[in-house]
Amino acid sequence: MIASVDPLSSHIAVWLAAQLGLDAPSWPFHAFAMLVVATIIVLLVVTPVGLGAVYLERKIAGRMQNRRGPNRVGPHGLLQSLADGVKLLSKEDIIQSGADVPLFRFAPYVVFVSAFVGFIVLPFAPGIVPADLDVGVFFFLAMIALETIGIVMAGWASNNKWSLIGSMREVAQVVSYELPLGIAAMCPVLVAGTLSVRGIADFQQGWFWNWMIFRHGYWAIVMVPCFLTFYVAGLAAAKRAPFDLPEAESELVAGFHTEYSGMRFGMFFLPEYALMFSLSGVATALFLGGYHDPVGLSVGMEGVGAVLWGLLWFLLKVGVLFFSMIALRWTLPRLRIDQVMYLCYKALLPIAMGCLVLTALLRLLG
């Protein structure tokens, strides 16, 4: 069972040092072992999640538009994402003249890493949390904000007016939406009294009225608007339609990744889906009871059964949120930039603040 990333990497470091006849592994061994673990995680968890998400999105988009979606590569088109990945890998890597080459090369990695690092605080099942940080919620929000830096780097280094406008929009949008997102996330934190995502999920164990969103019934008055705020702000922070202004293909060609091709483009493409997944995961853990089922069956369960049961419910809830994000994308038209700002500062922020105050009051009153 994977309890956390650290012990596994230190095991590898000790084993490596022993192979070379050393007693205690020095820091290069630890660094190398961590790299190995990170590679395994990226290969086995992150990439399948990203590719699967792309496939789902295309399939659902197709069905919503009376099309079939990908169905040529593999059974039901299941290998389409893989084929696209191979295609991206084999494409020519173009860096146009006038680009800031080091920044241009570095930017995709910043976006990729910051989007996927958010995964480590997700409680997948009881005992399966890559890193159960005490400041999990805060860490997650910080990692979302970090992605902006990568995108600004990409927009600036491209030396292209569309890219620059796209990345400027990204900054305006994501930094603005951090506020309602963070404030809405504070409400469950206030109730549970912990910033650990796993802690908040465990706080909601039992019947579904223990879930943050339905808490004791009457808490729903506060928590439903709070959840909706978190969800909408999350959509905007992940640059998902209808908030996909930074890449608005009809106005800005492709926004910040206009000049990117091949695998560098892929490195911008996958994090979008990773961010959707991790946002759905955090929303599930904060509001929808995390990996607990709605009828309290998980109370007292132990061992592998509890893990699988928890994983099933976690993936089910994340799947519902993920599906709703895709459905929204293929339903709503893109907002204008002033509408985006209006929604953030005049609608979501007041609602989030009201929710926070009300939550604090309800907490005080018991």
Partner: protein, 158 residues
């Protein structure tokens, strides 16, 4: 107070219209897609479909009427003999030009040229989509489901 009312109305409308939109788009997920999986599935065509021509070599008297009426000059005809005894030697239709107007079928005195149901013709070069219907050594083969010329002719006479 008025401002608050307007604000809450706008927030409510934003939420409401989102769900109205979802109520329209979501049912489509459960409907059958319209897409036909061409070439495995072929669309049902009306009997009057104007596809590639069907041509009856033996009836043709090389009168050149179809070639004359063709608005884009895509038919090339060479014949031998004279009058009603004339026989066709070359009958080429250039499908890079043809616009499937079916005007060529109208003036034919022996009703030997018809529009068939085949709508797809592919080639790597332009020469591959110029078909010589009068080539007796390599007659154009008709794909499955495509009616043979005389069947079409009998259909047309009914």
């Amino acid at each position: 107070m008025m401002a608050l009312k307007g604000w809450s109305h706008r927030v409510w409308m934003g939420l409401k219209t989102t769900f109205i939109g979802l109520a329209i788009t979501l049912p489509y997920i459960f409907r059958r897609p319209y897409t036909l999986q061409y070439p495995e599935e072929v669309p049902e065509l009306p009997p009057s479909e104007r596809g590639l021509h069907n041509f009856e070599i033996d009836k043709c008297i090389a009168c050149d009427q179809c070639s004359k009426i063709c608005p884009v000059d895509c038919i090339t005809i060479e014949g031998e003999g004279k009058g009603k005894l004339a026989r066709i030697r070359t009958f080429e239709i250039d499908y890079t030009k043809c616009l499937f107007c079916a005007l060529c079928c109208e003036p034919c005195p022996t009703e030997c040229i018809h529009m068939g149901p085949t709508f797809d013709l592919v080639g790597y070069t332009r020469d591959e989509v110029i078909i010589n219907y009068a080539d007796r050594e390599n007659p154009r083969t008709f794909s499955e489901g495509e009616k043979l010329p005389y069947e079409i002719a009998s259909f047309a006479r009914k």
